[in-house]
């Protein structure tokens, strides 16, 4: 190799080694670099009433004209004097003298189903505490767990405020990458009032674990029973039903009733009797709407046997399967995903549809055949074999909560907790819960008040319009419909049943959802289904460590006892 400059191997290795060492050292320095120290907070009093004016820009017909409308609303908050703590009982946007997060920028992540509350409220949050809310990132609904979990585990989280799904709370907590909130929340004045306003199952199952608070809710997901009121008002159908069954055409009380109605509507109207979501992993929720009403629990108290009482689990599964066997669900339902079922519902092809409480909210904003013909009611149940009373147990399915990572600067944690408290409080949530462009459902007692119900008939005063939220008007024109909708949500929530949310729930749910699909597609008989899924759950329990799982389960049972879910109604 004459003519070329030479060096020995040692020099070459020195260069290669030096480069790698440089990268390692550089990375370590970058990793250890910390942001600036936290800001100091102070305590002062503040005004409570505020008038909001937001311009609403609407583009009409191919951009030919732009109409600007101004929404003016007076918002009143109930003032509680801050006693040596951070104030949180203020109307949105009111300067909060007890906090100052100027210079703090928070990044957040949501699943795409939630809507745009950060974009809507970032100005208010900034003016009250100085925090800058960066535009959030969105993930598809089914991928929020994967993306947020891997990000947290990296130890260098990309976000300060992370929306996760409540059923995975236990999984997130076990990573030790989620910050316990108690010490931050204790700094808030009158925080008991905040907790007291949260509906207990959301508070106890979906925010707390092992005696600590890890999350705050901002979405009270619950299944309700949706139906087409026109079908129940139709005189011809009423008469025919009476002739056929000897009783009036009324909303179903039990799953047996629902099956009869589904068959009847399918025969008489050509609509599919009932819609259900069949695709993994969320399909398990529809089976649990049945099973929980039949009194089925995930495990017995000692966590020895899964899905007890077994005979009731089989009965519930038989009832569930009848909807498939009798073909009153649309073809292909066992693999049908959430959006496909919504499309079927909105195109007026389905008579009844157990779904989340906001189905009718966002359907009301859509130009679709079913618009104006939307009703919801209490989920059908099953008679208690002992007392004969009908037990309704709609699933509190999904449920969005906020968590914050441990590996973020202290000042960001404080600001994030403040933002979480404010967004979860009634002062903000009353508006986004009632906004048709937000997937959040009621989760506070304040959301069931007359004032909150009326918000469903008004525009959201804290946002204008944009391509992603092109209209701003109330969901319901008739206040009575709004009242009924809120009442239905409350009624279902009062009977709501918690989804698995202890560490390992992802594995249990994966197994359950696979078997539910096998049941729905006829691959497993109801009995096989229950026995197989129970065997699977028991082996998952053993695989994950029986003693640890028993501890987690014990905590779940204790909460269930505290809230009256155990012993079963």
């Amino acid at each position: 190799m004459s003519g070329q400059e030479k060096m020995d191997r040692r020099s070459a290795l020195k260069i290669v080694g030096g480069t790698i060492a440089g990268l390692v050292v550089g990375g370590a320095i970058g990793y250890l670099a910390k942001p600036a120290a936290p800001a100091v907070t102070s305590t002062v009093t503040s005004e409570i009433t505020k008038t909001i004016t937001k311009a609403t820009t609407k583009t009409v017909a191919k951009g030919a004209a732009t109409v600007t409308k101004t929404i003016t609303t007076t918002v009143t908050g109930t003032a509680t004097p801050a006693v040596g703590g951070i104030k949180w009982q203020l109307p949105p946007g009111e300067k909060n003298p007890t906090v100052d997060f100027s210079g703090v920028t928070l990044k957040s992540v949501f699943d795409a189903g939630i809507g745009h509350l950060i974009e809507w409220f970032k100005d208010e949050l900034k003016s009250e505490c100085g925090v800058t809310m960066a535009d959030p990132e969105y993930n598809p609904m089914g991928q929020q767990y994967q993306k947020t979990m891997t990000d947290l585990l990296s130890g260098k989280p990309s976000w300060h405020l992370v929306q996760v799904v409540a059923m995975y709370l236990g999984d997130y907590v076990k990573t030790e990458k989620v910050q316990a909130l108690d010490k931050y929340l204790s700094g808030f004045a009158n925080i008991d009032a905040f907790w007291a306003d949260i509906v207990p199952p959301f508070r106890e199952y979906y925010c707390k674990w092992g005696g600590k608070t890890w999350a705050l809710p901002f979405d009270g997901d619950i299944h309700v029973f949706n139906y087409r009121p026109s079908l129940f008002r139709d005189d011809k159908l009423k008469r025919k039903f009476k002739e056929k069954y000897g009783r009036p055409l009324t909303l179903p009380q039990t799953w047996d009733d629902a099956l009869i109605l589904a068959k009847f509507f399918q025969e008489e109207t050509g609509l599919y009797g009932m819609g259900m979501v069949g695709q993994r992993p969320f399909n398990y929720g529809w089976w649990l709407d049945f099973a929980a009403a039949y009194g089925v629990m995930y495990f017995d108290e000692e966590m020895e046997h899964a899905f007890i009482p077994r005979d009731r689990a089989i009965e519930a599964s038989e009832m569930f399967y009848k909807f498939y066997e009798e073909e009153v669900v649309p073809p292909g339902t066992p693999t049908m995903d959430i959006s496909e079922t919504v499309t079927l519902w909105q195109s007026a092809k389905v008579a009844m549809f157990p779904w989340w409480v906001d189905l009718n909210e966002f359907t009301a904003r859509t130009e679709c055949p079913v618009r104006g013909d939307l009703g919801d009611t209490l989920m059908p149940g099953a008679p208690d074999p002992k007392w004969g009373t009908i037990i309704h147990r709609p699933l509190m399915h999904y449920g969005r909560i906020f968590i914050i990572p441990t590996d973020i600067p202290e000042e960001c944690k404080k600001a994030a907790v403040y933002v979480m408290v404010r967004l979860a409080s009634k002062y903000y949530s009353v508006y986004y819960v009632a906004d048709p462009f937000c997937g959040s459902d009621p989760f506070l007692f304040s959301h069931y008040t007359e004032e909150a119900a009326m918000q469903y008939c008004k525009p959201n005063p804290y946002r204008g319009t944009a391509p992603d939220w092109p209209v701003n008007e109330g969901i319901f024109k008739d206040p009575e419909l709004a009242r009924k909708h809120v009442l239905t949500a409350k009624q279902n929530l009062e009977n709501g049943f918690p989804q698995p949310c202890w560490p390992g729930s992802a594995k249990y749910i994966d197994s359950l959802s696979i078997h539910v699909q096998k049941l729905a597609s006829g691959e497993e008989s109801p009995k096989e289904f229950v026995n197989n899924v129970a065997a699977d759950w028991e082996s998952i329990r053993d695989e994950l460590g029986k003693s640890e799982q028993k501890e987690y389960w014990k905590s779940f049972v204790e909460t269930s006892k505290k809230l009256g879910y155990w012993p079963r109604a």
Binding site: S11, E176, G278, R280
Partner: protein
């Protein structure tokens, strides 16, 4: 002391790239495959478990089911794709006279490759939709009754059909290019000697195309081995686990159950199986090449 050319240091960026993004992740995944590592269940601590993850995977019924699905999917899907691809390429080459028309045909058959798999999956999901899909309507119209394309009996075939639609074009393209490369003189000689077309095909075309066909088959097999996107969009492994392939199962273990130890073990098992199969297939097609062109 033996000297190294300074210019050979130019390989350093490439070496770093390979080390950081290929070798290191591989070594790391091999390392964690020997640990009980599921931070969502056991916390962030990793516990050495003496290869139990491998034992768990190899005794897992769901894994073997997914391997059987893979075998069916690759066996049927790739075989149909290769056969169709070869036929299409040769048909375009032999039966279309105009060069311009040949190009148009090639573009048409390769168009699906250019579509993003997520779009392809969504389109096929809509086409197969049991209630409102075009194919369901067609089957009713033709008197076959309503077919649920996503039930246990049909779901895997629906995936295969979508995959064939998307990837047959790449085989056609490779084979067409290979066919152009065969000297026309050989065919002229065969024609002069009055050798029938079917003999020419069997004795000249096929042996000379054996290696490109082998290469195309390998590419598609490797691709089918990591098949994920269409499956994710169209069936998500269902109904039940009827369309679950090993890659999807790896995804479930790693990203839906945070069981990184087992997922890493599964990846290594799949990698080793793939290496073995590819080695065998490559050897087989090299053997085919040994057939001399015999006139």
């Amino acid at each position: 002391m033996k000297k190294i050319s300074k210019s050979s240091l130019f390989f350093l960026p490439a070496f770093l790239w390979v080390f950081l993004f290929i070798l290191f992740p591989m070594i790391w995944s091999l390392y964690i495959s020997f640990f009980k590592y599921n931070p969502a269940i056991y916390g962030p601590k990793m516990t050495f478990n003496w290869g139990l993850n491998y034992y768990y995977i190899l005794t897992d019924k769901r894994f073997w089911e997914s391997m059987l699905h893979q075998l069916y999917y690759t066996g049927v899907g790739v075989a149909v794709e290769v056969t169709l691809g070869v036929l299409v390429a040769l048909a375009i080459y032999n039966y279309i006279r105009s060069e311009w028309l040949k190009m148009v045909c090639l573009i048409i058959v390769t168009l699906p490759i250019m579509a993003a798999p997520i779009i392809v999956g969504t389109i096929w999901r809509l086409l197969f939709n049991p209630g409102s899909g075009v194919l369901s309507a067609l089957s009713v119209m033709l008197g076959f009754g309503a077919i649920d394309w996503f039930d246990r009996a049909h779901a895997m075939n629906s995936l295969i059909i979508a995959d064939i639609w998307e990837w047959t074009g790449i085989i056609a393209l490779i084979i067409y290019a290979a066919r152009i490369a065969i000297p026309a003189r050989i065919y002229e000689l065969a024609k002069t000697d009055g050798i029938p077309d079917r003999i020419v095909f069997r004795r000249i075309t096929l042996p000379l195309l054996a290696e490109p066909i082998g290469m195309a088959t390998l590419i598609r097999m490797m691709d089918s081995y990591k098949f994920f996107d269409l499956l994710f969009i169209m069936t998500r492994g269902g109904p039940g686990t009827a369309t679950e392939l090993p890659t999807f199962y790896t995804f479930i273990l790693a990203f839906e159950q945070s069981d990184f130890g087992k997922a890493a073990a599964l990846s290594w098992i799949l990698g080793l199986i793939a290496m073995f199969i590819m080695q065998y297939i490559w050897g087989y097609f090299r053997k085919l090449r040994r057939f001399e062109v015999r006139l």
